[in-house]
Symmetry: D2
Subunit: 140 residues, 4 copies
Amino acid sequence: MYKKIITPRIGETDGLRYINNTAIADWFEVARNPIFKIFNPELELTYKKWNLLMVHSDFNYLEHLYFGFDVEIHTYITKIEKTSITVYHEAWQNGLLCANSNCILVYYDYIRQNSMEIPDDIQKHLQEHFITKKELKKMK
Amino acid sequence: MYKKIITPRIGETDGLRYINNTAIADWFEVARNPIFKIFNPELELTYKKWNLLMVHSDFNYLEHLYFGFDVEIHTYITKIEKTSITVYHEAWQNGLLCANSNCILVYYDYIRQNSMEIPDDIQKHLQEHFITKKELKKMK
Amino acid sequence: MYKKIITPRIGETDGLRYINNTAIADWFEVARNPIFKIFNPELELTYKKWNLLMVHSDFNYLEHLYFGFDVEIHTYITKIEKTSITVYHEAWQNGLLCANSNCILVYYDYIRQNSMEIPDDIQKHLQEHFITKKELKKMK
Amino acid sequence: MYKKIITPRIGETDGLRYINNTAIADWFEVARNPIFKIFNPELELTYKKWNLLMVHSDFNYLEHLYFGFDVEIHTYITKIEKTSITVYHEAWQNGLLCANSNCILVYYDYIRQNSMEIPDDIQKHLQEHFITKKELKKMK
């Protein structure tokens, strides 16, 4: 599991004084940085080196999030397949689970524009952060 | 169906020169403005008048979106339930369906913090923009 | 002068129910697209083709901007120098000038990382949209 | 002086693989949180409690900022006047000053819509973080 602390920005609140839903996606994206690093240690944003393509994401908005209190993002790898992984995020504020999200990242060759098999060494590294959704539920 | 034209911003591209996935959620949000108006004609962003709460969204990223070409957002209401609706969006660029998304909006009292039944007059108005996913598929 | 209509997004409001100041910079950026096109007709975002570097910007926030009403961005070129131009933007909503901004764009070689002299044909094209700040004031 | 560490987000890069200029304004905004707290300890985003209005900002973009490396924001109060203050920010990455900005915040009554004199106790608190631009230059 990876933890990332986010300080909400005023610009991320909206006219209802809650954090706007679109900001949550931004937070989960930055929380994936350590996963990007497993695949691309220098985080080089080039077609040659970048190798993950997001094909799907879903979000559940469970509780309002507020400006003025830090947010803790928890990030897990919940599925490892031949050519893709599923990443699961939670946003916690003041002890409350406020939002969660799944996203599917395909291991991808940006030059040839096709998916690739995830190599063994990366598979091993991913296993260290792997947890099934079932195990995750039991923990709570 | 509602149409909204979006001109991509440079700041919405990312280091891979594609539109970043998080920007697509922003575009779909602004494309919901006419639906917000059905529920709240003045679009008044107050707890008294605002009456929709997003509880879920999901996104499929099908093709890269690019800076330099306008994007057409198509918005449909694909489910009308007692206390909530499902809105379906598509992002088209240069004749290609590049992303789609579903989101569930609950008819909500922000002061009492509970869901409400959608009144008949709003239900009727929503029906005019309603299409089932099945019908939508047939059209294509 | 260039005009661009912007539909404010809920996510661009902040907890005070006004448009957040940071969103105004995003709107002015997209309003510069036709100027970018003078320098780079295909708007190609590559180091080889992109040739403008923003080195300075300033903003005056004169009136609150609101969600629910379209905004008109007016864009002028107010200075043309050997290697740079100054672009001036205004944001109008409901007949009110709400914000303005100047930004300095250097004609720039991203591969050699140095400024360049603006070629004559581009200079001529820029002249068509040029207006001095003095003339601009008189018009009002 | 206040320090705030920012982890750049992929969505904050643009097609040129640098951090987009608009993101820098977002970072400086979140770096002002401790200053907002001097004026409004609970950071309550209501017209009754919020009491700062930004009327001007300017930015100098000195060096490219990159994804993959944390950024340190330094924030100073460089002017304290009867009804307003000037805040000065710097963005540092890998030992390089990459951008700076001044912004003017007016002490403001959002209900009566007018500026107010900054009370003595807040003035005193502000003094603790005050530094003239001259002194700031000497330090470097």
